[in-house]
Amino acid sequence: MTFDIRLPIGLLFLAIGALLVGLGLTADAASLRTADLGVNIDLAWGGFLAAFGLAMIGLTALAKRGAGR
C-alpha cells in the first residue's frame, strides 16, 4: 500500500498558512510592508495556503473513507 502524499502536503501548508496568518494579524504594518505593497500579503496568502492545506487533508480523508467502503 502507498501512503497518501496529500496528507503531509496538507499538514505542511496548514502549518505555514497558520504561521503567516498569525504574523499577518499581529505584526506591525511596517514589518509587513502593507503601505509599500498595498496589501497584507502575509495574511492574504497565509489564509489561502491554510485553506489549500485543509482541502488536501479533506481529500485524503475522503479517499480513505472511499477505500474503506
Binding site: I5, F13, L20, L23, A27, L49
Partner: protein, 604 residues
C-alpha cells in the same frame, strides 16, 4: 535583510517534513525494485508533478528568471516550442517502449534495443553528467545564498566567518537530500518532489502577483519594456532582428526539436519518474499531466525576471536595447536596499569592478533578478516561504540527478561490468552506497566549480556535445527496426564529434576564442551564444541520424522477434477504444498542443 522567527520556523518545518517523508518512504522500501523504481507503484498525478519538479532545479528557477530579464517573453519558447511538444511526444509515442520493455533505466533500454557498447557509452556519459549537473546546482545554490546575505546575521552571532555560509549551504542541502534518498530511494525523492512542487508554486505565485501589481499588470510591463521584450515571435524571421539572435528555423529545429526532445524524451533523470508509475496507462499520462501544467510555468519563472528588469529600468539597460524608463541600478549590491534597482551590475570576481562586455558596456547580473525581487517585495514571513521555495527547487533538482545516478551506476555500470548475478539485497546496498558517493562527488564538483571560473561553461559545453545526438539514437531505435547496434554506436560517436567540431569552428559575436568556441579556427560568427548552441545541436543530431542510418544499412539487422516491445512497427498497438477521452493520451496530447499553440498566438 534579516530573517525573523517565522521565517526560520517555515524553513525548519520544510526540512522536518522532507525528512519525515523520506522516513515514511523508507518503511516501504525493502527491495531493489522499491529503491530504484519506487516499486512501480506511483499514481499518475504524483509521477506527473515529480516529472516537472525534477527539472525545477537552480537552472530552471534562477536561469529562466535571468533569461526573462535578458530576452523577455521570448524565453517562453523553451516551454511553448520546446518542452511541451516533446513531453506530448514522449507520452503518446515513446513511453510505451520505456515502460513496456521493463527496462530499469534508459541506458538499459539501449542495451535491449541495440547492444552492450551503446548502453555503456550512454551509461558512463550520463553518470558523469549527473554528478557534474548536481554539483553545479549545489554550487549555484550556495553562491546565491551567500550573495543574498540573509544568513549573515546568524553567522555573525555564532562568531562564524561569512565564507562558511557557502560551506553550510552545501553541507545542509547535501545531508538532507542524502537522508531522504538513502532511506526512501526513488519513492522518497518522488514524494518529496511533489511537496517541493507545491512549495515552489506557493513561493513564486505571490511574487508574480505583487510584481505585476507594482508594474501595472501585463500592460504595464509592455509599456515599461517595449515590444521586443513582450512579443515572443517578433523579428524571428531573421537572426539579426530579435533578442535571441536566432531565426525561426534555428529555433524550431535546434531548440524545439533537437534540444528539447533530446532532454525531455531521453534524459533518464526525467523519464525515470514516468517509469516508476503504477501502470502503462499512468506512465503514458505522466508527461501529459506534466505538460498541461508546465505550459503555464513561464508565468511563474520568466515573469519575475521581466518584472525585475522593468523595476530596474535604467539608462544602462536602455543602452542595451532594453526598457524605456530611467531610475538607478544597484551597482554591485546583492541587496537591493542599496538602490532603487532590482538587478545589480555584474561584478568581476577577480577585480571587484563591474564586468564589461566586448563593447565595453557594463553587464547586469541577471541571475540575481528573481532572488532580488523576492528580497525586495516579500515581508517577513513571506520571505521565509520564498527562501523555502528556492531551497525546495534546488533540492528537487539535486535529488533528480542523484536518483538517476544511483540507478544507472548500480544497474548499468556495476551490475553490467563489475559484478553480475549478485543478490537483490546486494544491489540495494550498492544503490544506497552509490547515493552517498554520488552526493560526495557532487559536493566535490561544486567546489571544483567554485575554484575555476570557466569550469561551468566547460561542463555545460560537454553536456551539449553528449546530449544532442542521443535523441537521434532513441528515435531511430524506437521507430526504425533496421537500425543496428553498430549503427547506433558509431552514430553516437560521430554526432558527439560533430558537435565538438562545429563548436571549434564557430564563435558567438563578442566572445573570445576558447571555451566559447572557435578553438580550432573561427569559420563562422553567430549573433548570440544561444544561436551557436542551437546550431551545434542541429549539426550533432543530423550527423548522428545520418551516420546511424548509413552504418545500419551495411551491418547485419537484429532478428525481428527480439525487437517486439522495443520498436513501434513490431509492437502490438495499445487499444484505447474503451478509454474515456480525458484518459486517452492522444486526445489529451492534442488538447495540450492546442493550448501551447494558443499561448504562442496570444504572446506572438
Amino acid at each position: 535583510m534579516a530573517l525573523g522567527t517565522i521565517d526560520w520556523a517555515i524553513l525548519a518545518l520544510y526540512l522536518a517534513f522532507v525528512l519525515a517523508i523520506g522516513l515514511l518512504a523508507a518503511r516501504r522500501t525493502k527491495s531493489g525494485s522499491d529503491f530504484f523504481l519506487a516499486g512501480r507503484s506511483i499514481p499518475a498525478w504524483v509521477a506527473g508533478l515529480a516529472f516537472i519538479s525534477a527539472n525545477l532545479g537552480a537552472q530552471e528557477v534562477i536561469g529562466m528568471g535571468a533569461s526573462g530579464a535578458k530576452y523577455g517573453i521570448a524565453t517562453a519558447h523553451f516551454y511553448w516550442v520546446g518542452a511541451i511538444p516533446a513531453m506530448v511526444f514522449v507520452g503518446v509515442f515513446m513511453m510505451q517502449f520505456y515502460y513496456g520493455s521493463k527496462a530499469r533505466s534508459a541506458p538499459e533500454y539501449l542495451r535491449m534495443r541495440f547492444d552492450e557498447k551503446t548502453r555503456g557509452f550512454n551509461a558512463f556519459t550520463f553518470a558523469i553528467m549527473t554528478i557534474f549537473s548536481s554539483g553545479i546546482s549545489m554550487y549555484a545554490m550556495a553562491k546565491l545564498i551567500q550573495t543574498l546575505h540573509v544568513f549573515d546575521i546568524p553567522f555573525q552571532h555564532m562568531g562564524l566567518p561569512q565564507a562558511w555560509i557557502f560551506h553550510a549551504a552545501i553541507i545542509v542541502s547535501a545531508v538532507v537530500v542524502l537522508a531522504y534518498i538513502y532511506a526512501g530511494g526513488l519513492k522518497g525523492a518522488i514524494y518529496n518532489e511533489v511537496l517541493q512542487f507545491f512549495l515552489i508554486v506557493a513561493g513564486f505565485a505571490p511574487l508574480v502577483w505583487l510584481g505585476l501589481r507594482q508594474v501595472g499588470g501585463w500592460h504595464g510591463l509592455q509599456v515599461a519594456l517595449g515590444p521586443d521584450y513582450t512579443h515572443a515571435w517578433r523579428g524571428m524571421a531573421h537572426a539579426s532582428t530579435n533578442k535571441l539572435g536566432v531565426d525561426a528555423f534555428g529555433l524550431v529545429m535546434g531548440l524545439g526539436f533537437v534540444l528539447s526532445f533530446g532532454y525531455w524524451c531521453t534524459d533518464f533523470l526525467i523519464v525515470q519518474r514516468a517509469m516508476a508509475a503504477d501502470s502503462m496507462a499512468s506512465a503514458r499520462r505522466t508527461p501529459l499531466i506534466a505538460a498541461s501544467i508546465k505550459m503555464f510555468f513561464p508565468f511563474l519563472v520568466i515573469l519575475p525576471g521581466m518584472i525585475a528588469l522593468a523595476l530596474t529600468a535604467s539608462p544602462l539597460a536602455a543602452a542595451h536595447g532594453g526598457p524605456h524608463a530611467t531610475p538607478s541600478v544597484a551597482v554591485g549590491a546583492a541587496t537591493p536596499a542599496a538602490s532603487q534597482g532590482i538587478i545589480p551590475l555584474k561584478v568581476d570576481s577577480a577585480t571587484g569592478k563591474p564586468a564589461l562586455d566586448s563593447h565595453g558596456q557594463p553587464q547586469l547580473d541577471y541571475d540575481l533578478a528573481t532572488p532580488n525581487l523576492l528580497l525586495r517585495y516579500f515581508p517577513t514571513g513571506m520571505l521565509g516561504l520564498g527562501l523555502t521555495a528556492l531551497l525546495a527547487s534546488f533540492m528537487s533538482g539535486m535529488a533528480g540527478n542523484v536518483t538517476a545516478f544511483n540507478t544507472v551506476w548500480t544497474y548499468d555500470i556495476y551490475q553490467a561490468y563489475l559484478r553480475k548475478g549478485a543478490s537483490d539485497g546486494h544491489y540495494l546496498m550498492v544503490g544506497r552506497l552509490a547515493t552517498a558517493i554520488g552526493i560526495l562527488l557532487s559536493m566535490g564538483a561544486a567546489y571544483l566549480a567554485s575554484r575555476f571560473n570557466n569550469i561551468m561553461d566547460l561542463i555545460q559545453l560537454v553536456f551539449a556535445f553528449v546530449n544532442a545526438p542521443v535523441f537521434a539514437t532513441f528515435l531511430l531505435g524506437m521507430f526504425w527496426k533496421r537500425a543496428t547496434g553498430h549503427g547506433a554506436f558509431i552514430g553516437l560517436l560521430c554526432g558527439t564529434l560533430a558537435a565538438a567540431l562545429h563548436h571549434g569552428l564557430t564563435l558567438p559575436d563578442g566572445s573570445i576564442a576558447g571555451v566559447k568556441g572557435g578553438w580550432i579556427m573561427v569559420q563562422h560568427i553567430y549573433p548570440s551564444e544561444m544561436a551557436q548552441n542551437f546550431w551545434t545541436a542541429i549539426w550533432s543530431w543530423t550527423t548522428c541520424f545520418v551516420v546511424t542510418i548509413l552504418v545500419s544499412l551495411v551491418t547485419r539487422p537484429h532478428d525481428e522477434e527480439q525487437l517486439v516491445g522495443l520498436v513501434y512497427s513490431l509492437t502490438p498497438k495499445i487499444s484505447e477504444a474503451n478509454v474515456r477521452w480525458w484518459a486517452n493520451p492522444v486526445t489529451v496530447g492534442v488538447i495540450v498542443l492546442i493550448g501551447a499553440v494558443v499561448l504562442n498566438i496570444i504572446f506572438r
